[in-house]
């Protein structure tokens, strides 16, 4: 297991960097926000990313992917994080393709994965029911009816919900609200009867939706993984996504930091560059150190995903906790160290601050993951 990127990864990183800079800088997110784009992302750009192989990177070759492993996605996500690129990478690739790949039947895999890799299918995971990440707090129910199930309930903060062709719905098939047992996952079509999806407008201008399920009938073949044992599949899926998101956060944090350092070398007050003020220098040095730790954590977690895997749960929490803290810090300093201009909408830093808070909360904030880490370590 290596803590440095290999040659393939370095090449991929460079091409992802060039691609994002040329085609999807922050101004693209701004354009989407200001034009009130109904999709909230650029389908054309997504097709280009698909052509670069990003959608199929982690999908096995037999299902139309490239089987590059997670180390490929690592460097891509870092670059999309740098540029705040809105794309289906998190919802469709990190969450749903992972769930299908880890828990789906042969039929699910061959029906869904090749279409994801080809950019023909967008998916979303309908998990959360409250304003906090609580993956076992599931009230949404799926009751057996004839050969299949009937789903009832509501979901919130469903990433890409309104653009997804299919949802993976986390529902309760038995047990009480916070039980680990009794959770099951279902693949549901967006135009299923009784399903309504409404887009919510989040502070980061990225996609999320509220989903209502009212007597939604699905066949037995909609069940993804084992009945009542969905918790385990869900946790494994979430851990992959948490690590992926940590890579995105690393990219965002690095970008804000780079912009801060540039500004410190360019803005003058009191007749000197503001970067000469020790009050700012030490904070910059502290951020640098924290970023170095973040880079190591992300690298280590991805190495585990592509390697031994046994330490994935704890490393996912290490990564998500650490990156949430540090991105929180750096996104705040990003505004502060730019002074008044940092507060203006015209300036990009605000986009990073807004995205930071959403992605910090996504799939568990720092406190959630410290708690989980402590439990995993037996204290």
């Amino acid at each position: 297991m290596s803590m440095v990127l290999n040659e393939d990864q370095s090449m991929l990183q460079q091409s992802a960097r060039d691609f994002c800079q040329a085609n999807a800088p922050v101004s693209e997110l701004r354009r989407i926000r200001d034009s009130q784009d109904p999709d909230g992302f650029s389908r054309e750009l997504w097709q280009q990313m698909v052509a670069l192989g990003w959608a199929g990177m982690t999908i096995p070759e037999q299902f139309g992917g490239f089987g590059f492993g997670y180390g490929g996605l690592e460097v891509v996500l870092e670059e999309t994080g740098r540029n705040l690129v809105p794309s289906p990478l998190v919802a469709t690739v990190l969450l749903c393709a992972t769930a299908v790949n880890l828990g789906g039947s042969q039929a699910h895999k061959s029906a869904l994965l090749p279409r994801i890799a080809a950019g023909e299918l967008l998916m979303a995971l309908a998990l959360e029911e409250t304003a906090f990440h609580q993956p076992t707090r599931i009230a949404c129910s799926a009751q057996r009816r004839e050969a299949g199930f009937v789903l009832n309930g509501q979901k919130t903060f469903v990433l890409d919900g309104h653009i997804a062709d299919k949802l993976i719905v986390v529902a309760r098939t038995s047990g009480a609200r916070d039980d680990r047992d009794g959770i099951s996952l279902f693949v549901v079509d967006r135009d299923a009867q009784g399903l309504s999806i409404s887009r919510s407008q989040m502070v980061d201008s990225r996609n999320a939706a509220n989903v209502r399920l009212h007597d939604v009938h699905v066949g037995a073949d909609a069940l993804l993984g084992e009945l009542d044992k969905g918790d385990e599949l869900l946790e494994r899926t979430l851990d992959v996504a948490r690590i992926g998101i940590a890579a995105e956060m690393l990219g965002s944090a690095q970008e804000v930091f780079d912009r801060i350092i540039d500004y410190l070398k360019q803005r003058e007050q009191f007749g000197v560059l503001i970067g000469a003020f020790q009050g700012l220098q030490h904070r910059a040095a502290t951020m640098y150190s924290e970023l170095e730790l973040c880079r190591s954590v992300v690298r280590r977690a991805f190495a585990e995903l592509d390697g031994a895997q046994e330490d994935v749960p704890a490393l996912a929490s290490v990564a998500k906790a650490k990156l949430s803290e540090v991105l929180g810090l750096i996104s705040n300093e990003g505004v502060q160290m730019h002074g008044g201009i940092g507060m203006t909408d015209e300036f990009d830093i605000g986009f990073y601050l807004k995205r930071a808070r959403v992605v910090q909360a996504l799939l568990g904030d720092a406190a959630f993951h410290r708690d989980r880490y402590a439990s995993l370590n037996g204290f």
């Binding site: 350092i261 150190s289 190591s296 406190a367 402590a374 370590n377 204290f379």
Partner: protein, 412 residues
């Protein structure tokens, strides 16, 4: 040429045969071997272990064989470390000669200087101390004023050093002295070595807040040092001084690795283990705030351990950031300080004893934690303070500008 797997096998066999059983137990503080003329070995196995390891050159595995080192390449060194770790072997010799002076002597010393000093360092025959700081020159080390004036084939030294760790126990000193009094402050310094028994050298121990007296004031009164003991170029000692500081910082950053950070099982000696034991908790630590703080600490400790590993790998590929040593030093020290603060919280008032009057007041372990907590405060002062490390990162790594009035004044 031996393959790496053959090397592993023969190393393992040698260690099996030569590492005494008592050297495979956790190090006791009073059994750490520092070497030197006046060495005494509380445990006779320590002496045996040192002689055997030194005989192989393995107290300094990567140093050249020509001077008695192990001559191992990086890969072999890694294997040796792994094999030592596998059996839980103690470090045979711990010294400033190994961690600080040796590396710069190998880089800047003459053949004669290396041949004279390196073998004695790695066999633990001579113990070294570091004469850098002075009463008026701490962080601003380059302003130092201990004078060395040439008189025939000797330099005559006058001045005082302070905070000289183990000066009262050391045999020799590596010392920064001013040899040009007109030049800008960084350009008139030289790096020189001498015997602490030379006439005119005296030391006075200073007591620390932790109660022990590991460092001294050191005075030089017309001390005559042979001119050939000057290392590197006259007046260019600052280059060597800085290089040595990098080695020192790397060593100190190891403090941050003191917790077995990535151990996933609950260990009684860990912070969380002690906290739970002290409270009689099982399964889950009952104090939620402490639990959260410990989790935060352990996450950072893991992240730090990964970073040390990455920095080593990058150094091998020669693409490490050049001042990683400052970052690691600073972060590692802060982590170690946090660890001791958490240990105090873990132990409650049992972590606040000074001595055991009645036998069972405080356990030896608990008293040790208290003293080490106090000692840990020095981590962010020794080897360059936390603030100085942050300055180095800001300027050398991030390229931030100097404050104009702080540029070097001539002769100061």
């Amino acid at each position: 040429m031996q393959s790496i797997e053959e090397f592993r096998a023969s190393t393992r066999a040698w260690l099996e045969e030569n590492c005494p059983p008592s050297m495979r137990t956790a190090m006791q503080e009073d059994e750490v071997v520092w070497g030197g003329r006046n060495s005494s070995f509380k445990n006779p196995d320590s002496k045996l272990w040192l002689e055997r390891m030194a005989g192989k050159g393995w107290t300094t595995p990567t140093w050249p064989q020509e001077y008695g080192g192990g001559g191992l390449n990086k890969e072999e060194n890694l294997v040796l470390l792994q094999e030592l770790q596998r059996i839980g072997a103690r470090q045979a010799l711990n010294s400033f000669g190994i961690s600080m002076l040796g590396p710069v002597l190998l880089e800047y010393g003459t053949h004669e200087q290396k041949a004279e000093h390196i073998p004695k360092i790695l066999r633990g025959e001579i113990r070294w101390c570091q004469g850098y700081s002075e009463p008026g020159s701490g962080s601003d080390l380059a302003s130092l004023s201990t004078k060395a004036v040439l008189d025939g084939d000797h330099y005559v030294l006058n001045g005082a050093k302070v905070w000289t760790s183990y000066a009262d126990k050391a045999d020799w000193i590596f010392c920064l002295v001013r040899t040009d009094f007109e030049a800008a402050k960084h350009s008139g310094i030289s790096f020189i070595l001498f015997d602490m028994q030379t006439q005119g050298v005296s030391t006075r121990p200073i007591r620390l807040i932790s109660g022990s007296s590991p460092f001294c004031e050191t005075f030089f009164d017309d001390v005559r040092v042979p001119a050939r003991n000057l290392v590197g170029t006259l007046n260019d000692g600052w280059t060597i001084a800085k290089r040595l500081l990098q080695h020192e910082r790397t060593m100190i950053s190891g403090f941050g690795l003191s917790d077995k950070a990535s151990g996933r099982s609950l260990d009684a000696s860990s912070v969380e283990g002690q906290a739970m034991q002290a409270r009689g908790d099982t399964g889950r630590l009952s104090d939620p705030v402490l639990r959260d703080d410990i989790a935060r600490y352990k996450i950072d400790a893991e992240a730090f351990a990964f970073t040390s590993q990455r920095s080593m790998e990058e150094a091998k590929l020669n693409k490490g950031p050049n001042a990683t040593s400052s970052m690691l030093k600073n972060y590692g020290c802060e982590l170690n300080k946090r660890r001791y603060e958490l240990l105090l919280q873990a132990l409650g008032t049992q972590g606040l004893g000074w001595a055991s009057v009645q036998h069972e007041d405080f356990s030896v372990e608990q008293l040790r934690v208290t003293r080490e907590w106090l000692r840990s405060k020095g981590n962010s002062i020794e080897g360059g303070t936390a603030e100085i490390q942050l300055n180095v990162i800001a300027k050398r790594v991030l390229g931030l500008p100097d404050m104009p009035m702080l540029t070097t004044k001539k002769g100061s």
